[in-house]
């Protein structure tokens, strides 16, 4: 796209062999509405809007051990090493649910949560933020999860970007619920419509494949709250594969799993994991890494395997942050 419009904030992402790195990029020469936006955010947060990067990881299923992945936490541990090997340290890691695999034995589940914390704490990043998946929180309505990780939905600001964690698993159902919707409306009310917002959650907020439980039953209601905001990106997990979806001006991206992959529902009738390949044990698994870069170029790293490239598009302040996902294989 021709950069005939004034830049405001960009996000670029690179999928590593085992994850994705995103970059949040405030553009230079900020004037007019974009400039006001940044000074508003700067005042609110007491920090300047500066480039930064963050990583999305998903679906580690700590405690899972079976034919689709007999290596247990190996991919997760490798992801941790890869994050630590990045040339530019990310500010933040977002974990989009299913940190652990479910079990009815509470002590065993607690042990898995402890192990998740131990492995993730090896990452050399200042901030790790999580949301639960149904395997963490579905059986006990997030009782144990909250003991280990705190609230299941919340928000925070980071260098000019507003992050919102949404919980669509703790009621046992793929649902956000009225209480959380109310909270979301209040949380967003204080922001101008052009604020850059990243929502992270476990399940897709749209009907990706309801027969495979790839949906959120009240996802439409969530989107109705989000749509008036012009710069919304939704990151999620659950489906154990890459997916990109655009509806209105909201972009939804799914990260791969760190345990096993699901096939493309358009090509396969049954929801069965892709079999383990001992020659390529980490094939189809992923880390999503996001990088903020002042020059707007996509991040590169020695470990990058760019099977997906999320590139930024120039935009007008009022149009907000738009992104296009480019698949270089096309």
């Amino acid at each position: 796209m021709k950069p005939d419009r004034r830049s405001f904030m960009k996000i670029a992402g690179t999928s590593l062999g085992i994850g994705v790195l995103y970059s949040a990029v405030p553009a230079a020469a900020l004037t007019g509405e974009a400039g006001e936006m940044f000074s508003f955010l700067g005042k609110r947060n007491g920090e300047k809007v500066t480039p930064f990067s963050f990583v999305q990881l998903s679906d580690a299923h700590v405690g899972f051990n079976g034919p689709p992945d007999p290596l247990g936490t190996k991919a997760f541990e490798r992801a941790v090493e890869m994050v630590n090997a990045l040339p530019q340290r990310p500010d933040l890691v977002l974990f989009t649910g299913d940190l652990t695999h479910d079990t009815e034995d509470k002590d065993v589940h607690a042990q898995r949560m402890k192990q998740f914390k131990e492995i993730s704490s090896r990452m050399n990043v200042p901030l790790i933020k999580c949301v639960p998946g149904e395997h963490d929180a579905g059986l006990d309505h997030s009782g144990l999860y909250r003991e280990f990780f705190g609230e299941t939905y919340y928000s925070f600001d980071h260098r000019g970007m507003h992050f919102v964690a949404l919980d669509n698993v703790s009621q046992g159902k793929p649902k956000v619920g009225a209480e959380q919707l109310d909270w979301l409306k209040k949380d967003l009310a204080r922001f101008p419509k052009s604020a850059p917002i990243v929502v992270f959650t476990h399940r897709p907020l749209f009907d990706l494949k309801p027969d495979w439980e790839w949906f959120t039953s009240d996802g439409d209601e969530v989107m109705n709250v989000l749509v008036p905001y012009e710069n919304v990106t939704v990151l999620y997990g659950h489906i154990h594969r890459d997916d990109t979806h655009e509806e209105g001006h909201v972009h939804h991206y799914a990260a791969k799993s760190l345990i096993f992959a699901f096939p493309d529902p358009a090509k396969v009738a049954d929801k069965k994991p892709i079999p383990f390949d001992k020659d390529q044990p980490f094939k189809n698994l992923g880390i999503r890494q996001v990088q903020a870069n002042a020059k707007g170029s996509t991040s590169t790293s020695s470990i990058a395997i760019s099977d997906i490239e999320l590139t930024a598009r120039e935009f007008l302040g009022i149009n907000g942050v738009h992104q296009i996902l480019k698949d270089p294989s096309l």
Binding site: E134, G138, G172, K173, P174, D211, E213, S217, K271
Partner: protein, 123 residues
């Protein structure tokens, strides 16, 4: 004159249509009570695992659980229920589209929850 007459006929026609279409619904006394189809949920499947319904026939699905709370979700027929082990859940459905539909348990119920499903065939 002519246009008045046409309009009159039109009104009469609309009235007749609404009368007939409202007819069966306004006389439930004559309607047969709907067929009851029992479906039992138990980790991690439904029994029976296939149910055949007739298009435009109203049936009551009586959902029971033998163990924990399960879900019963089918977007195409707008079904979204919980099945409690405490008491059965009755839902009245009148499918209007023929086809084969997958209903899933969407209330997380344990290890094999992700593949707990059944088929509803509408002919």
């Amino acid at each position: 004159m002519k246009s008045f007459y046409t309009r009159f006929l039109l009104i009469a026609f609309v009235t007749a249509v609404s009368f007939f279409s409202a007819g069966p619904m306004s006389t439930p006394v004559n309607a047969k009570s709907p067929r009851v189809v029992e479906i039992t949920a138990k980790r991690f499947g439904f029994s029976p695992d296939t149910v055949t319904l007739k298009k435009d026939e109203t049936v009551v699905l009586r959902l029971k659980s033998e163990d924990v709370t399960h879900g019963f979700f089918l977007r195409a027929l707008k079904l979204d229920e919980d099945i409690s082990p405490d008491s059965p859940t009755d839902i009245t459905v009148t499918p209007t589209t023929a086809g084969t539909f997958t209903t899933i348990c969407d209330h997380f119920c344990g290890a094999n929850h992700g593949n707990m499903k059944m088929t509803i065939v509408v002919e």
